[in-house]
């Protein structure tokens, strides 16, 4: 067994991050219960996308039978353990916090709302719970199956395992495409159940991949810094950097596609989603998200030398990981912006029916700029939970899949000049 153990000091720092996260969550619950629930949803969803990205990324490597990534594979495979914690938090949100976040869960609101009545066949509490359990059972089950198969290959050196991984990868990717789109709709889009766009799952998929790749890069570089994963050289990190760059650019593409179509069609049922995110302090928040998530990492990572340098790649990965959390906050908190004054004004105007749809019934407790120290604490907490769980799981097994038939090819991997 070729294992690796991170120094106790780093683990203590990660536990400290978890402590900051717990503290921030408790403080936000004490200050404002609704904001506490919204923060917990953002925290849990961020953990979910980090845990999902590893399985998704590993499955793409199995299915394409990529050889360069064999030495990188163990970190993504181990991220599946995070899904358990994410599920625990989302289960709490979906039971105790449901009424605070999702207006379709209130029978009295639905009774006075024709649109929500029409959607009640899908958006109702029991079916919501069933869906959550199905998603997480399948994601966790198949992810653990990947990990088990891949680890069994370490001893047996059986090349047929790679073929089994390919087959289960196809199953996973097919299921993932549908289940992720539905899960995004359930957890985030149904916060604003009157609003609709078909591009929202794609936008979230791009954000998931960017965040996932950047957190994988952070963990790999952290392990390399303390002497582990010697098989991974600058050539492999260069490719990881390319993944980050590509998915980050794809994220910007989806943001633009979603916003531009809404802007062009100019339907009141759709535009209020962006309109309230471009009013007051939120305009700065939205712009800093778009600039910080796309432009800064884009020009940072565009050069070959940045992608090959561990320091610069680590910086870029931290920027995109942090911005991934800002993105989740943008989606979750945006549903609860305090726009009562504007709605009251609009109700007297001609488009009263649209204004009523736009008014969030559950609460509008987000006043002003939404991102503060508590949100930074939640981000650090999520990174701490992710790093702690994944690294603990990583320490139990081999650092690289030693029985994979493509291992030698991966070790010899070389980027053309």
């Amino acid at each position: 067994m070729n294992t690796f153990k991170l120094p106790q000091k780093m683990m203590t720092i990660l536990v400290g991050f978890i402590g900051i996260g717990v503290l921030s969550m408790s403080v936000s619950f004490l200050l404002d219960v609704q904001r506490g629930w919204a923060g917990m949803l953002a925290f849990a969803w961020y953990l979910t996308i980090m845990g999902l990205a590893g399985g998704f990324w590993a499955a793409t490597q199995y299915v394409t039978q990529a050889k360069w990534s064999v030495v990188v594979r163990r970190i993504p495979e181990n991220t599946v353990h995070v899904l358990l914690v994410a599920f625990a938090f989302l289960a709490v949100v979906a039971t105790l916090g449901l009424g605070n976040l999702y207006e379709w869960s209130h029978a009295d609101i639905v009774a006075h709302d024709l649109i929500l009545q029409k959607k009640a066949g899908y958006l109702n509490t029991p079916f919501f719970w069933v869906r959550i359990v199905i998603y997480f059972a399948a994601w966790y089950g198949i992810g653990m199956c990947f990990l088990k198969l891949s680890k069994s290959q370490d001893e047996s050196k059986d090349p047929h395992v790679s073929h089994q991984l390919l087959k289960s990868g196809i199953v996973y990717l097919t299921f993932f495409a549908f289940s992720f789109a539905l899960a995004v709709t359930d957890f985030l889009m149904s916060l604003e159940p009157h609003w609709f766009t078909a591009l929202y799952p794609m936008y979230n998929f791009a954000g998931m991949a960017t965040t996932g790749i950047s957190t994988m890069i952070i963990l790999i570089l952290l392990i390399k810094k303390y002497g582990g994963l010697k098989a991974i050289g600058p050539d492999h990190m260069h490719d990881m950097g390319k993944y980050l760059f590509a998915f980050n650019t794809f994220w910007a593409y989806t943001v633009f596609a979603m916003s531009m179509l809404t802007w062009f069609a100019n339907l009141p049922e759709e535009t209020y989603f962006f309109e309230k995110r471009f009013t007051g302090d939120w305009a700065y928040f939205t712009l800093s998200l778009w600039l910080g998530h796309f432009l800064v990492p884009f020009f940072y990572l565009i050069s070959r030398d940045t992608k090959r340098s561990e320091t610069h790649l680590m910086n870029a990965a931290w920027i995109t990981a942090f911005m991934g959390f800002v993105d989740v906050i943008w989606m979750v908190y945006g549903a609860f912006i305090d726009d009562t004054a504007k709605v009251a004004h609009a109700e007297t105007a001609a488009h009263a029916e649209h204004a009523v749809h736009a008014a969030p019934h559950v609460g509008h407790f987000i006043h002003g700029f939404p991102f503060g120290f508590l949100e930074i604490g939640l981000f650090l907490g999520a990174i701490g939970v992710f790093g702690f769980i994944v690294l603990r799981a990583f320490e139990k097994g081999n650092q690289v899949p030693e029985g994979d038939p493509g291992l030698q090819e991966s070790l010899d991997f070389h980027q053309p000049l």
């Binding site: 633009f256 916003s259 531009m260 070959r304 070389h414 053309p416 000049l417």
Partner: protein, 181 residues
Amino acid sequence: MPSFKEIKEGLFSYEEVDSGYVVRVKDAHDLLEAAKKVRDAGINRFDTFAPFPIHGMSEAMGLKRSWLPFITLIGGITGFTANISYIGYITLIDWPIIYGGKGFFNFPSMFPLFFEIMILFASLSTVGGFMALSGMGSINRKPPISEATSDGFAIWIGDAMPESEVKKILGSLAMEIRSVN
């Protein structure tokens, strides 16, 4: 009226194997070693011939990184700014017209256009830059040994030096040394 061949030769200049020695080596691995040795000996005019691309040959020969990515970047930036100025000139100065109720300069609706033109400029400048940098015209260059198109590996040393010097540099790697006139 110049002939087609004359035009082609006028457009592209390339280094012909016209002097020095052509040395055959056994296989791709030996060719890599030979390239490293020749580079370390400080010889500037040399080239390698193999039937297929060899990983690590650029580093072994000490080739510098290509300028092609910068040409692509500059092409992309040029296309983006040129198209913004063009659309801006049309919609703001030359023929301002409101359509779709969106105002004169529709940045979001024009953005796909900027994007596409940026890609067009970037890709065309990449193709052109690639042709210029790689000396695309020299595809009609004759290999110094005919086996280089099937199963032979050779290194050409262009500097003028005695044959014993070549032997000293390459050592046991050299299978057959042929002088070029």
